[in-house]
């Protein structure tokens, strides 16, 4: 556990030494504000809820989270520091966890800095705090899921751009599988149970139900299993593909 913290600390200093973390946080805050106020009409809705704010998160994360996570392993590979790290007395799991936790903390920090949104709806009316908290939890878990996928693709290559594009495509698939325009199209030539089955793989389906304030253990389990599966695969890749 101590090594996990040591590695996470180093990663965090890395994020803040390079402008990655700042750029991510600033752009995330700007875009989330822009979309919820300008595009979704936060005020015009006349509701004291953050629904219009959270609705954009799957799409914002789609590009921003891979940008944070793409350097996670590919940079180690490119610099050759992977050899250094894996010949230290640490297990690959400790390294994977440490790196993942640090990147997730950056996402969490960006998410935490959106608290003025919460203050705003409080000022304007009487929001349901439980729903908002659930929304934050869902967004946090979704960010973790995207990040774990990025960790996996980052471990495959020494090229950050490749890692970025592949993780965007994988994450896009997870969004589209449950995106209403896509599922409505599928309904015409696939059985409803198949469409539901595909939709069950989507972050949209699970994120939307959490966002409504329904904390179903299945939704939480979904995000956790995406994280665990992706990190497990990362471990397999890192261990079998070390020399590359």
């Amino acid at each position: 556990m101590k090594s996990v913290i040591t590695i996470a600390k180093r990663e965090l200093t890395g994020y803040f030494a390079s402008p990655v973390a700042f750029v991510f946080i600033v752009i995330f805050l700007m875009l989330s504000g822009f979309f919820s106020f300008m595009v979704s009409g936060f005020f015009e809705r006349g509701q004291a809820s953050l629904e219009s704010f959270f609705a954009w998160h799957p799409w914002l994360y789609l590009f921003l989270v891979p940008a944070v996570g793409m350097r996670m392993w590919s940079e180690e590979r490119r610099l050759g520091t992977l050899e250094l790290l894996l010949t230290m007395p640490v297990t690959p799991w400790q390294a994977i966890l440490g790196k993942f936790i640090a990147a997730w903390a950056v996402v969490a920090l960006a998410l935490g800095l959106t608290f003025p949104m919460w203050l705003t709806v409080n000022y304007l009316g009487n929001p349901d705090h439980g729903v908002i908290l659930a929304g934050y939890l869902g967004s946090f878990l979704m960010g973790g899921a995207y990040l774990a996928i990025t960790a996996m693709t980052s471990a495959m290559t020494r090229n950050q751009v490749v890692a970025f594009i592949v993780s965007v495509v994988l994450s896009l698939f997870l969004i589209l599988a449950g995106y209403p325009p896509v599922t409505n199209m599928l309904v015409h030539w696939a059985s409803p149970s198949l469409v539901d089955g595909i939709a069950a793989f989507s972050v949209m389906t699970h994120f939307e139900s959490i966002q409504k304030g329904v904390l179903d253990s299945r939704d939480i389990l979904y995000f956790l299993s995406v994280i665990v599966f992706s990190l497990f695969t990362t471990g397999v890749i890192v261990r079998t593909h070390r020399a590359g």
């Binding site: 590695i7 200093t13 010949t87």
Partner: protein, 321 residues
């Protein structure tokens, strides 16, 4: 301390290392020689646990690197080829990080960092980020990392690569000093380094060990070894060579240069070179040659290296990476 048994590594159909075995005890400095792509780095990567061997085992201080990687890695310091380090960290940050991963904290960590900073002359760049450093400093930063926990086993992949002559000398002195109490393996292309630092050397070529011995032993395998070189102040080289050829112990002679006169005499197989030297000095006295130099060739490592490894490099031709 280090025991390597029949270590093998194949990448697909390509055999990188085919059955390497050796031992290194404490107080030994083992030089690892070989042409590029001979399998030096691959062998070191298997010993340090970075890549798993296809077959065979490496045991560090009683711990098998595959079965007990953490315990084995704890005993080991490693300087990988090209000395990688985190570009975005300062030297101090990087060294503190590696010390922390090695389980050092608080005052012990501070002391360890101070010790290696002094040993590797890093005081001036302590707060500079690694990416702004020159190659020599970067190299020494990574070297400092490998000795931060004062390990019993040290694996160095080309530790003097990219250093200037003064820095090379410092690093060699450091390795030799540490070699008194540690088991050290280091790889190099520079043959003089082997003579200066190693207590034993292994030459590896195309994945297998082709020579293993002390630098002196290896040098004795050279064709020059045991030959007597004679330099005279005056006289005719041909006449001197003819006189030497007439000696019973001489296999053949070679005129190195006419003026200044230098002749080399090679002994017969059964003749000891000291006996030959004695015979030559006797004849020189009789002939009243004015001797400027008379010495026995020790043999040259680069010559041995070339005769052992040249045929193979000709076959493979290019470096494989």
């Amino acid at each position: 301390m280090i025991q390597v048994r029949n270590l093998k590594k194949t990448f697909g159909p390509k055999v990188a290392v085919s059955g390497v075995s050796f031992k290194v005890e404490k107080g030994e400095v083992l030089g690892f020689l070989g042409p590029n792509g001979a399998g030096k780095s691959t062998t070191m990567r298997m010993i340090t646990g970075f890549i798993p061997p296809t077959d065979g085992e490496a045991i560090i201080g009683g711990f098998n690197i595959v079965e007990h990687p953490i315990e084995a890695k704890r005993l080991m310091g490693y300087l990988p080829e090209n000395a990688p380090s985190y570009a975005d960290m300062t030297v101090l940050g990087f060294l503190s990080f590696t010390a922390e991963l090695r389980g050092l904290s608080g005052a012990a960590q501070k002391k360890a960092v101070e010790r290696v900073v002094e040993m590797c002359f890093l005081e001036n760049v302590l707060h500079q980020s690694v990416e702004t450093l020159s190659k020599g400093y970067r190299h020494r930063t990574c070297f400092a990392q490998s000795i931060i926990h004062d390990p019993e086993v040290l694996i160095l992949d080309e530790p003097t690569d990219g250093l200037d002559p003064n820095q090379k000398h410092e690093v060699r002195t450091l390795i030799r000093k540490m070699g008194e109490t540690k088991a050290i393996i280091f790889s190099t292309h520079i043959l003089e380094e082997v003579e200066a630092v190693c207590s034993r050397a292994i030459i590896i070529d195309r994945g297998s060990i082709v020579a293993n011995g002390t630098p002196a032993e290896l040098k004795r395998r050279s064709a020059q070894a045991g030959a007597i070189t004679l330099r005279l102040g005056s006289g005719s080289a041909k006449a001197v060579a003819a006189k030497l050829d007439a000696l019973s112990g001489v296999e053949h002679t070679m005129i190195l240069s006419e003026t200044p006169l230098a002749v080399r005499a090679f002994p017969r197989k059964q003749t000891a070179s000291d006996d030959l030297a004695r015979a030559i000095s006797e004849i020189a006295m009789k002939e009243q040659w004015s001797i400027l130099e008379l010495h026995t060739e020790e043999g040259r490592l680069d010559e041995v290296f070339r005769t052992i490894t040249l045929p193979d490099t000709k076959v493979s031709g290019k470096e494989t990476k």
